[in-house]
Each structure stands twice: as C-alpha cells, then as structure tokens.
Amino acid sequence: MVTVVGVASRGQIPLQDIRVDFQVEPVAGADAHGFGVRKTVTLYGALSATEQRRLQRAAEYCPVGQLFTKGALTVEDQVACDAEPAMPEVMASATAMPQLSLPTLPTCAPGAVHGRYLVETKEYDDRGVLHQEGEVKVYMTCANLTRTGRWTLLAGHSSEGWMPPPVPLAYAALAASTVTTLQACIAPEVWTPAGLHVEIAPYSAGNRDQAQTSAAAGTLNARRVVRTVVLHSATSPVPAQTIEAALQQDPLSTSFRQGGAVLDEQIVMA
C-alpha cells in the first residue's frame, strides 16, 4: 500500500486513498503452500486508465508482494549451535538418521486481512515533496475452534518510526513461521521451548526509492536473507536432517521461494 502511495506521489497521480483486502484460504495439495489469498485493491480518485494501470502494476510489484507472488526471496539457511561440545554429536546423529517422515503441518485457518491507509499520516518536506508515505492500519481475523481471533497492527514509513516498515515485518513473519514449523516437526521429547531460536539477517536490497522505482517499472527486485536456526542445548541435539526437512515444509518459506500465493485478484476503482 505504501509503495502504491509512493509511486502515485512520484508520478503525480491523484490517488486519494487506497484499501487492500485479502481473503485467506487453506489450500491443499503437494504443490501448495498450505494457503492462498484472494486479493482486492481499491483505488480512490479520478484516475485515468493509464494511471490505473501504473498503480496496478505498482501494487503487483511492491516489495512484499514480490515475495508472495514472484518468489523473490533467496534464503541461505544455516544451523548454529551455542553449545560447542555438542556439535560433533549432532553431526553424528544427523549422519545416522534414516529417511525422515515428518508430521503433516496443520492446515492454514481461514480468515482475512484488511489494510486501511491512514491518509493523514503522510509527511511532506519543506518543498512539498512526499517524504514519508505514512502508516497503514491492518486488521486480521482468523478462525479458531474456541472463538475467532482478531488483531490490529500498524506498519509503514514515518519519521517517528512507531511501526515497522513492511519488508522487515515480512521477514519477521518468516522467522515466526519457521519457529512454528520447527515446533510442529521436532519430536516433543526433543523439543523444549528454550531449545532454539531463529535469526534472520537481511542483505541490503536497496532503499525505498529503488523499491518504488522497481515497482513502478514492474521489475523484479530480488532479495536475500540469511536464516540461522540456533540450537541452545547440548543435551537434546536435533538432527540436522530434521531441521532441513522442516524448513522445506514451512509454508511462508515455500511461498517466498516459489511465489504463486494469489488465487484471485482484482482492482476496484472508487
């Protein structure tokens, strides 16, 4: 959303407001990520057909959108161990591991994500040029067997920096998804909550202006991160093959690697 706002400002396109709505659905199948989205972008303003196409392209090629739709992320995976003496044992265990049969991950619960642009949070410099695209309020709702969960967060770009920019938020989701998947795949007798954590270290992929230029032109801006699974315990080693297999199953990792998360999308003019 903030990418579209930035592209509109740079192109002097009279975009007055924007909304983005996602319906999240479980998707089964060997080639699926476990989920898919139906995306609707609503653009407000008296826009020409050319301007609509430019903003539609910017929406399709926003940095996070490229991860979900184009598989624009390269993940370099590492496994580190804080307990040095355990490493040889871990490696020996991994070498001796038979073919793994990991549990099937839980199906993604259906729900929705709604992005609402907070127009008044745009910031301009002394020359009247857009300096910060502003904030987006995101509502999330997800089915649960007890009751439906609802959450709200802010993301975007502001001078005050109260909220994370979208790309680091996407990387945070990748880290969280990785931990969730490892929890599901590692045997309970081995797993302890204090047993590991996951770190993401992004390589620089250019600044926001470059990302908006790429989005406006409809070009791929590939990104790369180092993901490190850090094992804490020397007494409950986790076989490397188990971790590797789990990382291959992780739904967000698969989506960011392969793209193709969109089941349906439409642009609505209002």
Partner: protein, 70 residues
C-alpha cells in the same frame, strides 16, 4: 527462484536483525531489531489455531500477509 542451502556453521552471522523465539504453549515471540536509520525494536506474538485455547496472536502467515497489505 530461491534455493535453500543447509550448512552447519561454527560461528554466528553478525548481521541478524530479527529474532524469533518459541514460547510455552506454541506461541512465538518475534522481535524486529532496527536496521541503520530505523527506529524500533518492534515486537510481535504469533500463534496457531488450537481446539481449546484462544490464540494470543495471529498465525505467522497472517503477519506476512499484513506486511503485504501495508
């Protein structure tokens, strides 16, 4: 388009900016550390659907889609 490379490493990468830790009960606590020029850190809880417990945060996939929305 990406490839996952699995390597055991002796040391730790120095460039980490995001850390996710599991919590008791299946939730995950994730902290986004600021990169140069950014504010922060920012902290999030994610969770998974459960038959008997309310979720303390959205699923991680939803957090990613929220980033997409933004």
């Amino acid at each position: 388009m990406s490839e996952a490379l699995i390597d055991r490493v002796e040391g730790r990468e120095p460039l980490r900016s995001i850390i996710a830790r599991p919590m008791v009960g299946g939730a995950v606590h994730t902290i986004i550390g600021p990169e140069p020029g950014q504010r922060g850190p920012w902290s999030f809880l994610t969770d998974t659907p459960h038959p008997t417990r309310d979720m303390v945060g959205p699923p991680a996939t939803y957090l990613g889609i929220a980033a997409w929305a933004a």
